[in-house]
Symmetry: C2
Subunit: 251 residues, 2 copies
């Protein structure tokens, strides 16, 4: 094959600053809860302008490893935190909107993640978590509920089960993936023919999944969860052709 030179693209000082901060994190010298020096002090330390430093901090903020607060006192300034959920959610939401993933891809990912969630929840979930999930299902079962709120509660149910499994990563991924298709799901719920029947059907599945989890029947719960998700996405996937690869991307 040909040599395929590619530009070296050095410079971009804010990336160098970013890299430097990242190294501190990887080395364990910067940990969650630590505070960074004020921007006006830190910029000269790196030998860059405040703007460049701020852009690096902005990157860390969008990743969810840093929050900044103005003012004075112990809570002010830039602090290292661990809040991946919002960042991951926004990332997947935008990329799904841009067509980086098809709805089919999202469905398969949900199946994979939530199968694991339900299976693990059966053995690891506390009574408290399950009661909370049960309360959500109960609220979803109320007669007059609208698709809007149902969608909200459905998300909460699935995320709650995921978090009750004790796995922070799959929980975060589940929430983010579910979140990325929320508008689509909502539209689908609003356009369904017999909404009360659909609502009842979905909630029967929810209740049954929860029952299986309580009985420690993880595999059965996972199977039902897969059925639940596939059944729900199934009608959407057929009419969806946003997916896959096209032009102008990943370059």
């Amino acid at each position: 094959m040909p040599v395929e030179w590619q530009p070296v693209r050095q410079s971009r000082t804010h990336e160098l600053v970013l890299q430097s901060i990242e190294e501190q994190v990887f080395a364990g010298k910067l940990r969650a809860g630590d505070r960074l020096p004020p921007e006006r002090e830190l910029a000269p330390v790196f030998g860059v302008s405040r703007s460049a430093l701020r852009e690096a901090l902005r990157v860390l903020e969008t990743i969810g490893v840093l929050v900044a607060q103005p003012g004075r006192g112990p809570d002010s300034g830039a602090r290292i935190v661990r809040n991946p959920d919002d960042a991951l959610g926004r990332l997947l939401r935008l990329h799904f909107a841009l067509g980086s993933y098809s709805l089919h891809d999202v469905m398969e990912a949900r199946v994979a993640l939530e199968r694991a969630s339900f299976a693990a929840a059966a053995t690891h979930a506390s009574e408290e978590d399950l009661d909370e999930a049960g309360a959500v299902v109960h609220r979803m079962s109320q007669p007059g509920i609208l698709p809007e709120e149902f969608n909200e509660l459905d998300t909460r149910f699935h995320v709650k089960v995921a978090s009750s499994s004790g796995n922070a990563l799959t929980s975060t991924l589940t929430a983010a993936v579910r979140e990325s298709v929320r508008p689509l799901i909502l539209r689908a719920l609003e356009e369904v023919d017999d909404w009360p029947a659909t609502q009842a059907h979905l909630n029967r599945q929810h209740a049954e999944m929860l029952r299986l989890v309580r009985l420690d029947q993880g595999d059965e719960a996972a199977d039902l969860a897969e059925l639940h998700i596939r059944g729900f996405h199934g009608t959407l996937v057929d009419e969806d052709r946003t997916g896959g690869d096209a032009d102008g991307a990943t370059a």
Copy 2:
């Protein structure tokens, strides 16, 4: 439970700009390949300074939906792209380093994702993809190979199988999750007692997984992949106690 008021935190003009651009994406008015106006023109359109606009663009860039290039000509300026892999990789890498996820969480997520990958690859992968994966396994099997390169190739193998499954999302997630524990895996490989034996063992599994995929035996391939991943992470998980929840986060 108590009401738990939380601050509303308005302002932050760059977030408003960001929100405005995101809406254009969600509405489909901004699509992959589109170019944004120059910063000096766009800033006054939003009624903000160039710095604030730039911070919004920087956020989009770290999410992987935008690239910017200086200079002049058709390739210059800010363009909408779809490159989630780097963004997702950096996100998980940093959060793993910060202890947002335990190694156990990562292992379970890998099992869930890669089970799906191998199962789907059995039915969807092209001969070409599988040959490529086979070539990687072949290179990993060479006698004198060092853990460093082995780790690199192992990542490529798993990611290749994931991408061959035709699911861009699970592929991206697999790559990012695998990437986040790469340093740990490398260290583990370097500290193994009998490296050649370990190498041979892992490659037997790789070859067997690939064989099962070629035979369209997706379930068996998934089972072996799970065994493969658990076996590999197993020794690490025991000595790892970074995980779970602690202080100063997610606030």
